[in-house]
Symmetry: C2
Subunit: 437 residues, 2 copies
């Protein structure tokens, strides 16, 4: 345990000032250099299993791994932000990894080179023997006017933080005595665009806050006054789930006051209202945009073959037309068929590619990547979840326990494993923190 | 316990949808209305003890009480930000208090009126029978050019958050391969201006991070490379402490690599360097400005008599020339002599004024405010503190335990009392979190 997270034991070593010899050691060997882009599910998982017979370099603008399935829980304070991250620098994998906090801006596969840019220090180049592209995807706005400027996305930790502060700020505004009835009603309107798991889970967490914490923190606001609208362009929310499960989610969310509108595509977003294709206008105080992912710009302008904005790979996750470039996660797609942009796909690909590269080192034969569907889960609020797998479909309270247990066991670090149950317990006993800062 | 923080018990009540009747109840009575400005030590303490025979209205831009003595600990992650705050909305005091998140912009004492402004909803007025001014003070820049634009203050939670992110961001920059030696050295220079307890404690926390966490998180940076400079314009740091104690602080900080320069007044701050009166230039990557407090603008332009930027009161904390306006904390000063701008003064004044107003209700005779000096404490790093009181002077490890124990017992809420020791333990075992977001 100490060894893992760099605790007391390592600290004692540090105090005696061991010279930082890692980079020196790496430079003096002739190890093959694997450059991995990204610190998401696939990249982070790959680094954890990749043999230290490789020289490993990670380039990513985000210096931490984010446990995305629990991100909606942080938007209201059910969990705290830092409880669901694992900083790459203090992760056990760093013993044999060099990390640069930077974006990859372009590829030169013929020179085995990538160009990187760090926000503050300008551009630099990194050469590689093998390149692994796991840059992920971007929020998909479908080019709709006003989304970038006015909506909150829900993809990174800073998104969750800004949603949390924004919502509480709106509650504070709503009870300033001079506010007009009309403005108060707008400010208390929360619109969520996108009926996928993230959108639904945000709606669920929001309802939990409204029913459990609002009466205590803002008794001047009745939870019914806060209008929660969930818009989905398609015919159904949670399209990956069974119809019977979707029905349960609909019933549960509607019972808690969520106005769910399917077949409702947004055509334009103004600063204080949005317009549907039908011409209908919805005023909002908080707008959360969670309509899935679109192509990452570095992928769009890459020299690699792409399809629907994702780099096309063969069944070994090797990028078509290259010998030493691999791609996985949300930015890639095997030519045999599009895989969903989910954590479980990325995780399996990360694990697979690490094993593949380790086998290459040993000159062993490679196996094709096969995706094993493990199931779908979604939290629907009020201590209820949906859990769908090959063998069993569950919903309700039991499923919620299973949902929490499943994610708890998946948490990467000891700190996370201690902090997350601590936060859950704290929220249960004391309620959610409404500090704005 | 449940009752206090609004936990399970209160939540059950909430679910049955009790109508929010507080404001209604208050409007229908003829209670005397006390308006309190601020949510700092004095105001928050006063509200806690003020009789609910008054109608109490609190106006403050900050919706939480901040346990300021532990703020430096949050700049490096020894404690988490939310561990040392108590949101006013979920505090037990809210049972009989109305709170508006707004600034007071001006006073009209002849009309018993204040003007307020909420950042988003414009201006509004609040009338009062009694007014209590506890707006605190502002960071003192002494009008030095470039401070506002380039320095980090250390007064609020968002200051601590921005220092934490900025410092880690600088470490990330420093190890980008293309950075010049000169730029790396600048980026790794941390300058603290102000040798009071806050400046010293920040230096101490920074050193703890450098010696305990840097080698683990950033082995490419040697702690000796990070230059920590503490500048003090006066002849000594920690001027409120005994000379023998100051010497101990100097020895301890210098041993840990802090370059302490007294009699060093800053004349100008540029974006990447600062200039001393002597003409000497110091390049910096991080600049923390903690030179004590200056007048709050609403106080400066108030109709009340001020001295050195603080509202002058009599020995009952009543503002001179008024009958129903009181002032305390960092924004006020009794005419008999300036009190230090510390938490213990503010706390005692808050408690005193609540008792005074309660006695007024009962037509009892009032007593003068007397400040009881309880002692000085400062953390000097490496698990050592200074503790100075009437009876005993302590330094070192024992004093550090006393320092932690003293603040632990002062923490206001149960959540704080659970969270702070939890954070301390987590830091001890796992080290500080270096996630940037």
């Amino acid at each position: 345990m100490w060894k893992r997270a760099g605790g007391l034991l390592e600290r004692n070593v540090s105090r005696s000032w061991v010279a930082p010899c890692r980079s020196v050691r790496m430079n003096s060997t002739e190890k093959e250099k694997v450059v991995i882009l990204g610190t998401g599910w696939s990249s982070f998982r790959m680094v954890q299993s990749l043999s230290d017979k490789y020289k490993i370099v990670v380039v990513s603008p985000r210096n931490h791994f984010l446990f995305t399935p629990l991100l909606p829980s942080t938007t209201t304070g059910t969990l705290e932000f830092r409880s669901i991250v694992e900083p790459i620098r203090t992760s056990k994998i760093m013993d044999h990894v060099t990390y640069y906090q930077a974006h990859c801006t372009s590829f030169e596969p013929e020179k085995n080179l990538i160009h990187c840019e760090s926000e503050y220090t300008g551009t630099f180049e990194v050469d590689y023997d093998k390149l692994v592209v796991g840059v992920g995807a971007r929020n998909n706005t479908f080019g709709i006017e006003g989304v970038e400027e006015n909506a909150h996305f829900l993809k990174e930790l800073q998104d969750a933080r800004s949603i949390r502060a924004h919502l509480l700020q709106n509650f504070e505004k709503a009870i300033i005595p001079t506010i007009s009835k009309h403005e108060r009603s707008r400010i208390l309107s929360c619109v969520i665009v996108g009926g996928g798991p993230t959108g639904v889970e945000y709606a669920a967490e929001l309802c939990d806050f409204l029913w459990n914490d609002l009466p205590r923190a803002y008794p001047q606001i009745n939870a019914h006054e806060v209008k929660v609208t969930l818009l989905e362009a398609g015919p159904n929310i949670l399209s990956a789930f069974d119809a019977s499960m979707v029905k349960k989610a609909l019933t549960s969310l509607r019972k808690r006051g969520v106005d769910i509108r399917t077949d409702s595509a947004v055509s334009k977003v103004n600063p204080e209202s949005l317009e549907l294709d039908s011409g209908y206008k919805i005023p909002y105080g908080t707008l959360v945009w969670s309509t899935g992912v679109g192509p990452h710009e570095v992928v769009s302008k890459s020299p690699f073959k792409t399809e629907r904005g994702r780099i096309v790979t063969d069944e070994y996750l090797k990028v078509l037309g290259t010998e030493n470039v691999f791609a996985f996660g949300d930015c890639a797609s095997p030519e045999s068929g599009l895989l969903p942009a989910t954590a479980q796909v990325a995780l399996q690909q990360g694990k697979y590619l690490a094993r593949s590269l380790n086998r290459m080192q040993q000159n062993k034969e490679l196996q094709e990547f096969k995706y094993h569907f493990l199931g779908n889960m979604a939290y629907i609020g009020g201590n209820k979840s949906l859990l769908e797998s090959e063998y069993v479909n569950l919903s309700g309270w039991v499923s919620w326990i299973a949902w929490r247990a499943a994610y708890f066991t998946r948490l990467g670090s000891w700190v996370n494993k201690i902090q997350v149950p601590f936060d859950w317990t704290k929220t249960l006993i004391f309620g959610r923190d409404v500090t704005i800062f």
